[in-house]
Amino acid sequence: MRPHATLKPDLATPSDPTHSETLVRIRDLHFRRGQRAIFDGIDLDIPRGRITAILGPSGTGKTTLLRLIGAQLAPAAGTVEVDGRDLHRLSLVELYAHRKRMGMLFQSGALLTDLTLFENVAFPLREHTRLPASMLRSLVLMKLEMVGLRGARDLYPRELSGGMARRAALARAIALDPMMILYDEPFSGQDPISMGILVRLIKQLNDALGITSVLVSHDVAETCTIADYIYVLSGAKIVGAGTPEELRAADSPTVRQFMGGLPDGPVPFHFPGKAYLDDLLELPA
C-alpha cells in the first residue's frame, strides 16, 4: 500500500502515523443533533492493539461516537483520524477501502435476515474477494468455529437467540480480518452465560489476533474486567479517563456515581423539566 513509507522513512516526521501507537485520534469533536449538543469538544486517543472502552449513561451518544469513528456520521467540527487519515476528508472510494479494515458489531447484530449464518459470514468475503468455493468455505467455518456456531451454520438469524445472533455478527465482523472492531453495547440484554462468552471472545480476539477493540457500554463490571483503558462520557464531555483501577479510585463525583451505580448525583435522576410542585398545581389547558 505505502511502499515509500516503509522503504524510505521520512526522518522529519518521526511519528509516522502508520507506525504510531495511537490508532484512533479524535480532536475537539463537536456533534449536534437538532439543538442538543451530543459532543462538545471531545479529545480521545485509542491505542493500537488494546481494548479501549467508552463508558457512559445511556443517551450520552456512545453509539453516535462509534458511528463517527466508522464515518457513518460527519462531525460538526473537529477531526477523527484512524490510522493517520482523517476519515471525513476521504473520498467515498477511499472510505469504503478503509472500512474493509474495520469491523463493527451492532447492538442488534444486524444480520442479513434472508441469508443463513454461513451466508452471512460469507457475505463480506463474497463481496470483496474472489476466493475459490472451498477456501471460502474453510474460512467461514473457521470464523464460525471461533464463536462456537459452526454447527448452526444452516440456521437463519430468526432462529437464533439474542446471544447467538451477536456471536454470529461477531464472526461476520472478523471475516475480513480487520485491524479494529467497534463493539456497540456488546453486553446489553445478554444472560450471564452469553455475557461471559462475549467477554471471553472479545478478550481472545484482542489477544490472539491483535485486533484493536473499541467498546462502548454501560455495563461497568463486565467492561472493567477486559478493558485496558476507559473513557467516561457524560454531558457531552469526557469526564474521566484511566485504567479501571484508576477510575475506581477517581475523585470526580460523576465518575464515582457512574462506576458505583448510584441513582442520583451529578447525573440527575429526573429528566429536566419544570418544578414538580408547579407541574402538579397547573390546571390542564
Binding site: 466508522g70 457513518q72 467515498l92 469504503y96 477501502a97 478503509h98 472500512r99 474493509k100 474495520m102 469491523g103 463493527m104 451492532f106 442488534s108 444486524a110 444480520l111 442479513l112 435476515t113 457475505f123 463480506p124 463481496e127 470483496h128 455478527a169 461476520r172 475480513l176
Partner: protein
C-alpha cells in the same frame, strides 16, 4: 385564516423538500447503475422477485379486464351493427391505456409495496448500516438492482396483461357472444399499428410507469423512519403516490402520443 395559510405553506415546503431529497436520491441511484454491469445476477434475482412473483395477479386481472371489455364492447358495438370490430376495440384499449395503466397500478400494489417494506425493514434493523460498515454500498448492492429490475419487469408485465386481456375479450366476444372469429382477428391485424399502439402504449408507458413506481418505492423504503410505524406509513405512501403518479402521467403521455 393565517394559520391555514401557514399550514398550506408548511405542507408545500415539505412537499418540495421531499421532492428535492427524492431527486438527489435518484441521482445517487443512477450513479450506482454502472456497477451493476459486473453483477447482472443481482438484477436477474430481483426481476424474479418483482416480476415473476407478480405474474399471478397480472394474468388473472388481465383476463377479467379483457372479458369485461369484450362484454361491454359487444353491447355498445352491436347497436351499430359493428360487432365485427370488437377485436380492434379490445386490442387498442388494452394496448394504449388499460394494459399499461392497470398493470402499473397492480404492480405498485404488489411489487412496489414489497420493495418499500423490504428496504425499510432492512434500514430499521440496521442491515443497511451494517453493509456500509462492511464496505458494501447499499445503493449498489440493494437499491440499484431493485430499481432496474422493476423498470425491466414493468413493460413485460404490461405486455402479458394486454395479451391475456385480448384472449379474455376473445373468449367473451367470440366464444360466448358469437362474434365472427375471422373478423375479430383480421380487424385487429389490419388496424393495430406497431409504433402507434404497441410501442407508444405498452412499451413506452410501461417503461415510464416502471421507472416512476420503482423510484418512489425504493426512495420511500430508503427514506423511511426506521420504526415499524415509519415503515408502514412509507409503504402506504408508495401505493398512494405511485398510483397518482401513474394516472397523472398517463394523461400527459396520452396527450403527447395520441394527439
Amino acid at each position: 385564516m393565517i394559520a391555514m395559510l401557514a399550514s398550506l405553506g408548511h405542507r408545500s415546503l415539505d412537499f418540495f423538500k421531499r421532492l428535492g431529497r427524492g431527486s438527489l436520491f435518484l441521482l445517487r441511484v443512477l450513479a450506482s447503475l454502472p456497477s451493476l454491469a459486473r453483477r447482472p445476477g443481482l438484477v436477474v434475482k430481483q426481476i424474479w422477485a418483482t416480476g415473476v412473483l407478480s405474474l399471478v395477479i397480472i394474468v388473472i386481472s388481465g383476463a377479467f379486464v379483457g372479458m369485461v371489455l369484450g362484454l361491454q364492447g359487444y353491447n355498445t358495438l352491436v347497436t351499430f351493427g359493428a360487432e365485427e370490430s370488437l377485436g380492434l376495440v379490445v386490442a387498442t384499449s388494452l394496448l394504449r391505456e388499460l394494459g399499461p395503466v392497470v398493470a402499473a397500478l397492480l404492480f405498485a400494489g404488489r411489487a412496489g409495496t414489497a420493495l418499500t417494506a423490504e428496504i425499510g425493514f432492512m434500514k430499521a434493523t440496521e442491515q443497511l448500516s451494517a453493509m456500509e460498515m462492511m464496505a458494501v454500498d447499499p445503493m449498489r448492492r440493494i437499491v440499484a438492482p431493485r430499481f432496474v429490475a422493476a423498470i425491466i419487469a414493468m413493460p413485460l408485465l404490461a405486455a402479458i396483461f394486454t395479451a391475456v386481456g385480448v384472449l379474455g375479450g376473445y373468449f367473451c366476444g367470440v366464444g360466448l357472444l358469437g362474434v365472427d372469429d375471422g373478423s375479430f382477428w383480421s380487424q385487429m391485424q389490419a388496424k393495430v399499428l406497431l409504433i402507434d399502439d404497441v410501442v407508444n402504449g405498452v412499451v413506452i408507458k410501461g417503461l415510464v410507469f416502471g421507472a416512476v413506481i420503482s423510484w418512489i418505492a425504493v426512495f420511500e423504503g430508503y427514506d423511511a423512519i426506521p420504526t415499524s410505524e415509519g415503515v408502514s406509513s412509507a409503504t402506504t405512501r408508495t401505493v398512494v403516490h405511485s398510483s397518482l403518479a401513474v394516472l397523472g402521467l398517463d394523461f400527459v403521455l396520452t396527450g403527447l402520443m395520441f394527439n
